[in-house]
């Protein structure tokens, strides 16, 4: 990895990595671990990048796969230790952002299934249905319907909390 690799190839996409990692974690510590692991995996996988897709798509895909893998591992571990810590962590990250509505939206997003979280995050990042499908590895025709369904669910949760 060149010394500029992080600055040139990762940092411009840090926004989406941060947003994705926040959606899959419920504490600052986990968030930083996920972020670090995503960066590490991007570095490890860079030689496999074949330029068949855009670098940004590649980064999103790795970020998503890492988050899903870590989440699966964490779930396994947390099943053994269902404790007060989990509740405390959830509360802690409910205030990760200074905007209260955004915190409520993130809490709602965390209630979605892993894939629905990815779909809505990419939709909110204004990715096209084709790009979302490409990143997630699904049929683009299903994305529109899925987004609509997720938005309805999110709206219901968010409105219920804000009002």
């Amino acid at each position: 990895m060149s010394s500029d690799f992080y600055n040139i190839s990762i940092l411009p996409y840090a926004g989406i990595i941060i947003k994705l990692c926040r959606a899959y974690t419920d504490s600052q510590e986990d968030f930083e671990d996920y972020y670090q692991e995503v960066c590490l995996q991007i570095w490890r996988s860079k030689e496999r990048f074949r330029e068949e897709s855009q670098w940004s798509t590649w980064v999103y895909r790795i970020a998503l796969n890492v988050c899903l893998t870590l989440l699966k591992k964490d779930k396994k571990n947390k099943n053994h230790f269902v404790s007060d810590t989990l509740v405390a962590e959830q509360t802690e990250d409910s205030h990760a952002f200074s905007d209260e509505s955004l915190n409520v939206l993130y809490d709602a997003i965390r209630q979605l299934s892993e894939i629905d979280r990815a779909v809505i995050m990419l939709y909110l990042e204004e990715k096209s249905q084709k790009e979302i499908a490409e990143i997630i590895g699904t049929n683009p025709n299903n994305i529109g319907v899925r987004v609509k369904r997720i938005k309805t669910r999110l709206k219901k949760i968010v409105d219920g909390k804000i009002n």
Partner: protein, 218 residues
């Protein structure tokens, strides 16, 4: 008025400073540990494979009638594995608590020592393996007499004037000695070539990592 999901998202990230990337100070140490762990795994697998191969070959050699080759192979490779296992133990002693740069430096020193020792051993290893094959097949039973003797008898029928030293054609002795010398001379090079095939990618990554950290330190 109620905001849409899209508006909450956009406005939220306009206001917030939450998009500041966390520091990735542990990235280099994680990468160093990852690369070195990969090397350790490969090295251990390699040693296990050598032990398994030498053991299986020892058994097979008795069945196919070349026990001398099998025994020499087994002893030589056991010595090789023993020395490398000792070297691996030294590698495990490298302190994980030091900085990535020091960790990589320590690994590099270990790697250079390991390569130097193995390079020296290879000057003997390849000739020993070659001579064990010659001896194994020479003494292999061929209808009551050793295969080597039978071969010499057949050569003598075709070339009655062939010069023998202790019953072995001189040309054969010279050829074997020549090959042994070549193997001893190029043993180190053969080992490095072999090493590059197995660990080339890992070593390249380590070099890149070192260069990277050094450029960050300068």
């Amino acid at each position: 008025m109620e905001k849409s999901i899209e508006d909450i998202w956009k406005e939220g990230f306009l206001k917030t400073d939450a998009l500041i990337a966390p520091k990735i100070n542990k990235l280099y140490s994680q990468k160093s540990i990852h690369v070195i762990d990969k090397f350790k795994r490969m090295f251990k697998i390699n040693l296990i494979a050598i032990v398994a191969f030498s053991f299986i070959f020892l058994i097979v050699s008795f069945f196919i009638g070349i026990p001398i080759t099998g025994v020499i192979f087994f002893v030589t490779l056991s010595v090789l594995v023993f020395i490398n296992k000792k070297l691996l133990n030294d590698l495990e002693k490298i302190d994980l608590g030091v900085s990535s740069y020091q960790y990589l430096k320590a690994f590099n020193q270990w790697k250079n020592k390991q390569i130097a020792i193995n390079k020296r051993m290879s000057k003997f290893l390849y000739p020993i393996i070659f001579i064990s094959m010659i001896l194994g097949f020479w003494f292999k039973d061929a209808e009551g007499i050793p295969l080597g003797e039978r071969l010499v008898n057949e050569i003598r029928i075709g070339f009655p004037d062939v010069y023998l030293v202790y019953g072995i054609p001189l040309i054969g002795i010279i050829s074997v000695i020549l090959i042994l010398v070549l193997l001893a001379f190029f043993g180190g090079q053969i080992y490095k070539w072999d090493l590059n095939i197995v660990y080339g990618r890992v070593f390249k990554k380590l070099e890149e990592l070192m260069t990277d950290i050094e450029s960050l330190r300068s």
